[in-house]
Symmetry: C2
Subunit: 251 residues, 2 copies
Amino acid sequence: MSQNIYDNEIFFIEYMKLRNEKSYNDLLEQPEINKLLPDIKGKTILDIGCGYGHNSLLFAQNGAKKVIGIDISQKMLEVAKKESCHPCIEYRQMDMSEILALTQKFDMVYSSLAFHYAENFQKLIKDVYDLLNKGGYLIYSQEHPIVTATMDCKGHHNLDENGNFVSYTFSDYAKSGQRVGTWFVDGVINYHRSMGEIVSTLAHTGFMITDMIEPTPEAWALEEKPDLMKEFIKPTFLIIKARKSEFSCDC
Amino acid sequence: MSQNIYDNEIFFIEYMKLRNEKSYNDLLEQPEINKLLPDIKGKTILDIGCGYGHNSLLFAQNGAKKVIGIDISQKMLEVAKKESCHPCIEYRQMDMSEILALTQKFDMVYSSLAFHYAENFQKLIKDVYDLLNKGGYLIYSQEHPIVTATMDCKGHHNLDENGNFVSYTFSDYAKSGQRVGTWFVDGVINYHRSMGEIVSTLAHTGFMITDMIEPTPEAWALEEKPDLMKEFIKPTFLIIKARKSEFSCDC
């Protein structure tokens, strides 16, 4: 079971405030992950960690036949049901460790910035694989392994004498497992996994990886937030697209 | 065309000296890459950047039908022909940008720590793909992208007050391209590519990635060289195994 930090009162209030300004997600992660979307007209989609439901709504508005949005947070789902309501969308409170309770199959499993909360990555990827139709896609983003690596969560950028970002310092990259840090509140739990662990887990489960993106800002995003230049020093996000083969590959 | 630094007199003498002690390659890279080898009995193998030929010899001694070992360095090949001679092995002086000059196909293309010297990675991967039989494997290692990233090649470990390694500082991860550094001599040219660029290039060419390893030392290696503890801070090598599909996958 993942931690339900989004139902923490203080966390939720602070997280909601993020919506008043363009976030890293808006400027970096969302533009890049959306480029990977296949044609979703008539498709069935599972949105894991759907939050406010803005992606579920996007899929429904673009012709998806059915979208199931799950999230562990009741508070997030209340916002989703109010702001991202659509006849093709069903919102359910569910932890991502329990998705096998869903009885239907999907053409796409999508997840924006939730998988780093999953304790058992191997099980999650296997469950997603089992829920996908043949030829179906997994498209997901997570915090970049370089960011989740450092044991005390104190990976940090370094500045030169003029206050410009010049480098990034991290540690513990090869030590897979839980990290407890602070994001609005203390005790926020993430799980770190190396690139090797992520890629090999997907491949050994049977997925064909078709794309890996470590987003950098486009010109319009840099204009909005010049600090995004530091994405060229080290990436913040990792985005992966993988496919379940249409036939039984000998691989 | 890659730089031919191994034929530099000073570089070659210094590089030869490495053989007197167990190197990072012996302790970290070779044990892990060898775990990925398929059954090579009766197979045809291309060894890109074969150096002294110790891997080509290993393949021949384990029953490979034919091994072609190529290297850009005449000096390295002279050692290979003397020390790693075998009736099934043919050594040729050839840059890895010119492998399409080979007229036969291979069951496996292997390369240990050479691909970071390739200027045009996309062409190299496409050429390897074209040279492989269906179902054939590419197994290769390179310097890890976190190591090749920093523009002035000055990525570095940081020490605590007791002289223990505690973290690693790097920069320029998202800036793909040439890096000029020092390794025995000045002016050694590598090419940096991000994980995203590497994985997506392999996938878009048609390869199915089956394994990715960022080696960490086993107990016996740590005993030999306790400093290898710093591999848990950041990896030195990246190893990838990928396969050319046996049939035309729709992916």
